[in-house]
């Protein structure tokens, strides 16, 4: 799938240069010649995957555009800043961008940064999030209410199995089969203990794993 990138710069030559390189790298591009146009275009094309904003632009400068978009979107933004020393100290307002590239820059660098940022943003999004719970399958990490939680392998597999079967009642036997293996002969107590440990570690989200008396357990976010 080709990603689409909005390039906002008032210098036509620069815009075309950047657009050319990005298109050669396989991206679709949309150009804006001032801040207002950039904002308006992004509003009309919510499928834009990344924005490159020059700081110095008429009507609205890059920071203002960045700020306005950040109010409602987490789309990745790269700022093109002047090379002077002021860029070192970012004021409170001058935040919210994902990358900063100082002019002058080589087009190769720009493309490399864009590639990296796109990858970071879109490729690695295997994340489950519901209620207080967040599971990142790439990092094999779990957080509850933004607090990292360390799970053992069995606990992690239990949790992900529950998530895959949200709202379904799962018997201890099913769990023994899926988590421990078909040929494993564990006791119900084994399951109980691991469920217990998992609930403990999940803190407030522990209540998501409910006991269904006589049948097993059920994962449900209330």
């Amino acid at each position: 799938m080709n990603r689409t990138i909005l390039i906002a710069d008032d210098e036509t030559r620069m815009r075309i240069l950047v657009a050319d390189f990005l298109e050669q790298a396989g991206y679709n591009t949309i150009e804006a010649k001032n801040g207002e146009e950039a904002l308006s275009l992004y509003g009309k094309h919510p499928d834009i995957d990344l924005l490159i904003l020059d700081v110095m632009m008429p009507l609205m400068n890059g920071w203002e555009v960045c700020h306005a978009i950040r109010d409602y979107s987490k789309v990745p933004i790269i700022m093109l800043t002047a090379k002077n020393t002021e860029t070192d100290e970012l004021t409170g307002f001058q935040k919210g961008a994902d990358e900063y590239i100082t002019k002058p820059f080589s087009p190769m660098i720009l493309v490399a940064r864009v590639n990296a940022l796109i990858k970071r943003t879109y490729m690695d999004k295997q994340v489950y999030s519901k209620g207080l719970l967040l599971v990142d399958y790439n990092r094999i990490s779990v957080t509850v209410d933004h607090v990292p939680v360390e799970l053992s392998q069995t606990e992690y597999r239990l949790l992900t199995f529950f998530i895959e079967n949200e709202q379904q009642v799962i018997s201890r036997e099913q769990l023994l089969n899926h988590i421990w293996g078909m040929d494993y002969f564990g006791t119900d107590r084994t399951v109980d203990t691991h469920i217990n440990r998992l609930r403990m570690k999940l803190l407030a989200a522990g209540t998501y794993i409910q006991t269904v008396r006589g049948h097993g357990y059920k994962y449900e976010v209330k």
Copy 2:
């Protein structure tokens, strides 16, 4: 950010002259009065951004210093050579420098060349910095909390591979494949040992490499 330049020349007058001009141009300078001192100073100050080496120096001549530094660093080097015709043909040994300036030269020329070289080198500067850790891909150097850290090749490759895959869990098998090669059959203990050595050398930043029990390791700056 001000760049730092090391000037190595045995003639005090020349050293001061060059240093003055460079400082007026906004650089920090460090002076060495012979080759050995130059090499030692560069070792102690891995933040030096460019070296100017006179060829004719006591203890170690400029080429020897250049050669020694090139073994482990890609830092830009300007050689000051005598004006005789021999300099036209560079022998195999007389390589590795980025610029050659023949004496006598005008200070203006020197500053211009320095500016150009600095720009050329660091415009595409590839530096990774996060938390206590700083990796300079150009120099192939690593510092932790501003303290230079010496890594072996395997350790360096491990670290950079982790950085490229920040926050991702990487299995021992993946590491063996990427760092040691597809057809390599190492044991898990090999990986563990190198991870261990890397963590040790990274001092406080060693905790950035986390063990994910049952899966491998993960690089993450907390």
